[in-house]
């Protein structure tokens, strides 16, 4: 496989896992504009563990994921007390604080960054991306996934019907933090180098766009969004800066004609292989 193709695939896998991290909170009706903060925690935890302990990758990746999940859990407790714009801005502030802290801290290399002494091959990334995708699909099919969706649709009604809104949202943040942290760990292990400046506000904005343009109604959304946003720039690469311009235009147009995102619940239902069978069933009077 050419270096160019494998590089693009690696970025796609990392973006996909990262997008699922933001997607999980979006399903529960929370817009997380601090995604880069969670990814940075996963990446730096990996870099630090790899350079300090020399533990094998199979220990480091789960450990970094757990650390990021724990941060997601802890930060969700105060952040989820806020609502609306405040909640969006609280997550945004969280991302900025993490990046600012890493930029200042001596043990994490400050502005110079850190070298990661281990390397993850492409198949590790692909396997992780596949497992994350399956986990997200499974989660959406569970009672927890249903509870998260109901909170997004109508929080008051869901609460009346017995959904513990706060517990579900905390769970969403924790799982989201874990996924974002995992993507950070894989980023660190694949690129071999982390620096605080990379995990900036623009990264948080981009990953949120992956999810919202892809569609936050079904687990297909982040898949469509990451594919769209990773492959399209490659097609536009000749155009230089024009591709970001085209991006912006696409986002504005998308919000005008299809604000629910590329993949909606309705589209999935119509394209499902069972749809033909269901229609046939109706036709036969079953």
């Amino acid at each position: 496989m050419s270096g160019y193709l494998s590089g693009t695939l690696a970025i796609l896998c990392i973006n996909l896992i990262f997008a699922y991290g933001i997607f999980i909170t979006a399903v529960a009706g929370q817009i997380n504009l601090g995604g880069a903060g969670f990814q940075a925690i996963g990446a730096y935890a990996t870099a630090w563990l790899a350079s300090q302990s020399g533990a094998p990758m199979w220990v480091i990746i789960p450990a970094a994921t757990l650390i990021s999940a724990l941060v997601g859990f802890l930060i969700s407790l105060p952040v989820l007390r806020t609502r609306g714009v405040y909640m969006v801005l609280a997550t945004f502030a969280f991302g900025e604080v993490v990046a600012g802290f890493l930029l200042r801290s001596e043990i994490f290399g400050g502005a110079i960054g850190m070298v990661v002494p281990q390397h993850a091959e492409l198949w590790v990334l692909i396997a992780s991306a596949v497992m994350t995708t399956l986990a997200a699909f499974y989660l959406m099919a569970t009672r927890l996934g249903l509870a998260m969706r109901s909170l997004n649709d109508d929080e008051d009604a869901a609460t009346v019907l017995g959904v513990n809104a706060r517990a579900v949202q905390v769970a969403a943040f924790t799982i989201g933090g874990a996924f974002a942290g995992l993507s950070g760990a894989l980023y660190a292990l694949n690129f071999g180098f982390v620096e605080a400046q990379y995990f900036n506000a623009l990264l948080s904005i981009y990953v949120l766009l992956f999810v919202l343009i892809g569609g936050a109604q079904t687990a297909w959304g982040p898949l469509a969004g990451s594919l769209f946003f990773t492959i399209l720039p490659e097609l536009f690469r000749v155009g230089g800066s024009w591709r970001y311009f085209v991006f912006g235009v696409l986002i504005v147009l998308m919000m005008m004609v299809r604000p629910e995102g590329i993949v909606t619940r309705d589209l999935v239902r119509r394209l499902s292989p069972f749809a033909w069978w269901r229609r046939a069933g109706v036709a036969h009077g079953r």
């Binding site: 806020t82 801005l89 900025e96 604080v97 311009f245 912006g248 986002i251």
Partner: protein, 339 residues
């Protein structure tokens, strides 16, 4: 309580300005008492930076207060003014040079910002209103404004380049007050920023259009029932947003002599921080927040080094959001709507 009353007069209206002034004065007093003339100079430059943040923060707070819309195009409107003004002066688009060229350039810049802001209104708000009946209860305008941010930045970047452009500061003149050298442009900027915000406050409080805006902030549907032509008043918010961001961009350009396609990003995020500190939806809050963030930035560079700014400012914001979400002067009801 009336959401927009918050923009102009709250139950605590008399004490609001007082607390703002007291907080800023206390901070300045502390800084001057503990430091020497170096600190005094830092305080003055912090106040100028604060005046710029304040103006942008008022633009943010206005769109959230009236439309529940976190408008991410504001940083790009700020940038448009600076880059267009710089380009018209130094790329020879104007046939004359000197002070007049700068004045004309800045005027063109602010006009472009206002026009761009109206374009955003056309393609985010008006369209959504037609399609969904209500544009204020969705994250859609927010996402759409992120798209416009990319569009404007790259439209400027493609012809003018992504590099930071430095140039000699126009309107260079200094005066001495009590042994302290202060630029006339700095003083004029602070005065202009205060005048613009005061004018906005007057518009909201006293004029017919201001009353209409406050009614829409309360409830767009009720406003419509009461005879407010919502579709004709909403563009006013965007014109004001463009003006405020544009004036701030113009002040930044003439005072720092440094423009780039990304100049708005840093100022925009700091202004968001300022708005949250002061309390979303409160103009006095945005003023106090802007000055506090400006001072915090210069003083934190002085005491802890350049890398500490983000940490200081955003740490402060996170603490405020969690402990006192309505900020220093905010109105609890604003911004709680679903995103």
């Amino acid at each position: 309580m009336n959401a927009v009353a918050g923009l102009t007069k709250s139950r605590f209206a008399p004490s609001g300005p007082l607390i703002a002034v007291a907080a800023v004065v206390a901070l300045i007093g502390l800084a001057i008492a503990t430091g020497g003339p170096v600190i005094v100079r830092q305080v003055v430059s912090g106040l100028l930076l604060g005046a710029i943040y304040m103006t942008v923060a008022v633009a943010f707070t206005l769109t959230i207060g009236v439309l529940n819309f976190l408008n991410f195009t504001i940083p790009s409107l700020f940038m448009l003014t600076g880059m267009v003004a710089w380009a018209s002066v130094s790329r020879g688009y104007l046939t004359f040079a000197g002070t007049w060229a700068w004045l004309v350039g800045l005027f063109i810049g602010v006009s472009v910002a206002v026009a761009a802001s109206l374009l955003v209104e056309r393609f985010t708000f008006r369209y959504l209103k037609m399609r969904h009946g209500d544009a204020t209860e969705h994250a859609i305008p927010l996402v759409s404004s992120l798209g416009f941010l990319l569009i404007f930045e790259n439209l400027i970047l493609i012809p003018l380049g992504s590099e930071s452009q430095r140039f000699a500061i126009p309107f260079k003149a200094d005066i001495q007050i009590a042994g302290l050298v202060i630029g006339v442009a700095q003083l004029a900027s602070c005065a202009l920023a205060v005048a613009v915000v005061a004018a906005l406050s007057f518009i909201l409080k006293r004029t017919k259009i201001g009353r209409a805006l406050r009614t829409i902030a309360e409830n767009p549907d009720t406003a419509s029932l009461l005879g407010v032509e919502v579709s004709r008043v909403v563009p006013v918010v965007f014109i004001l947003t463009g003006l405020l961001s544009g004036v701030a961009g113009a002040l930044f350009t003439v005072n720092y002599g440094d423009v780039s396609p990304f100049m708005g990003d840093n100022v925009g995020t700091k202004a968001i921080a300022a708005m949250v500190l002061g309390g979303i939806g409160s103009i006095w809050g945005a003023i106090a927040g802007g000055l506090v963030v400006g001072l915090a930035e210069t003083l934190s560079i002085q005491y802890f080094g350049g890398d500490s700014v983000a940490m200081t400012v955003w740490g402060l914001v996170l603490v405020i959001i969690i402990l006192r979400p309505k900020g220093l002067f905010g109105i609890a009801s604003i911004g709680k709507g679903k995103m």
